[in-house]
Amino acid sequence: MGAAIFRKQLGFNKALCSASTTAIRYALRVGYDTRMESQPGVQPMKDKSIDPAKDNHSRTDSRGRRRFLAATTAAMAATVAGGLTDLWGDEGREPGSPLRPYGERSPFEKVARRNSRSGQMSGTGSSLTPLESLYGIITPSALHYERHHSGVPIIDPEKHELLLHGLVEKPLVFKMEEIKRFPSVSHIYFLECSGSGAGEYQGEPAPTPQQTAGLFSCSEWTGVPLSALLREAGVKPSAKWVLAEGGDASRNARSIPLEKAMDDVIVAYGQNGEAVRPEQGYPIRLIVPGWEGNINTKWLQRLHVLDQPSMTRDEAADYDDLLANGKSYRFSFVMEAKSIVTRPAGGQHLAGPGVYEITGLAWSGRARVATVEVSTDGGKNWRKAELQQPVLKNAAVRFRMPWNWDGNEAVIGSRCTDESGYVQPTHEQLVAARGTHARFHYNGIKWWRLQKSGELTNA
């Protein structure tokens, strides 16, 4: 808002230079004033947009924070506006914005998650990662997809405890500080909600990569191997499953086969170099590499070693694919090989014939990605794309292929093959095998139609 006001009032002329300095000082002063608000005799600066009198519905502390944020944003916007004219000006240049304790992206960047559906209650539902706007393989933590069953709890790590009990020699309680004392590991792993692309089974294709495959993200996760905690407690021979329970209001819980739990599962407290985000399970969550998102329990508070699965709703009666014959697959854990072209893709527009890069993401929860092929003629011809190195097991793989668009209609898509020999199937193959009532684990080839006008839509 600040930027709009400044542009409107000042335009992009030479006067902007000095005016923006005033704006920065003003904004910063407002920011500082909010910090002094509680001191007697100090009057905050008056400003229409942040008048405390009009904010009487909110508490003082949140009001102060909001005003501080507004001031910071105004300062950033002012800097941006000033910078635009200053770069090549001959009347001296304005210094940029001051140092910041926690970084923010450029105010020009508006890329955001979007809700796939509104939940029944505030905080439930899911939000999708804007795959078409990202580079490389790492999803910024702030853009990691979300799926919550009962909102995002606020958990104090000082008070948080992880209970490990059941078929173990000695039941244990771990504080966060103790979990972090175990030898740690870091791995780049993808997470994909098994409901990603679910509408495609029913022939309801979503119009953009974000909307059809945005329940997919990839992060570097740091934590302690679950096997270390289990060994610490001493797993009894009769143990076969581990129930993991979250600390959200719904105590979301899933059972994991002990073999997987002892293999590569991580109790993660780090995400992309900093603490796991609250939406991602702060202070600790499970990372179950290659397996459906739902089993990667967030806000982990309890691990129950069992001789059988608990059959919680999500595993017994929800995340199961209903086949045409009325039977359902049970325990479909692995997310199979999948890929999607994210640029050029639905919802985008090409300026005209010429050179473009076809790029996208591929992954497989069963084996390392071996090849990704790209077709621009709806699957008649395929060409191998270049894979960004290193190609890591259970991580997103960035593929790229230069392309010279001749201006004719094209149908663009990608196909992933993993090292087990599994080839990403077509939509038709999946429907033939599972019917149209399945709702999860969709991994069909996704096609985008490029019109002569440059518009891209679902094929």
């Binding site: 244990l172 819980a253 309890r302 059959m311 709703r313 017994a316 095998a433």
Partner: protein, 201 residues
Amino acid sequence: MPRKMFRKIFLVALCFVVCGALHAQTGSDKQAGLGRPASAEEVKQRDVTTLPNGAGLPDGKGTAAQGETVYRDKCAACHGPNGEGSPQGTQLVGGVGSLASDNPVRTVGSYWPYATSVWDYIHRAMPLNQPGSLSADDTYAVTAFLLNRNKIIEASEVMDKESLPKVRMPNRDGFIPDARPDVGKGSLSTGNGKNKKSQAR
């Protein structure tokens, strides 16, 4: 030459000694001595796990008649007066026999394989705006109400930790092990065969 060889042997031997020492320090005992013992009491307090065989179900009981009141107060706003569902809450009643049809309706009655899962989910996660607010008696009662409305138990049947696991749900045998890879060239030898079988059923 011999001197060089001795040096090599010495270095290799040194390696073994050092590695052995390190192993003794960190590797031989796999336990780190972290975490405090959990008392039986705190485990009991936090453990809400239930199993299909009834293990973990607490004391308490309820009937469909009692459950009707709880359902009306706590559940009907989202799931409809008779479990028919609404935009806010899934359908809970009906749909039995519909799973293989063109319009399968997944409900507690038609889809859920275990009655204990119903109890467990209500106890964990319902009502959505206040999970954990239902007593054990209320949870048994609401479960009984849903089972009764789905024509699985009689209205007079008392649900408790003994009787609930004995309830046989209509879709108990409706699940098969994940047969994937069921498509994809890599699955030609096994997956397609499995698939044909499952389609023929």
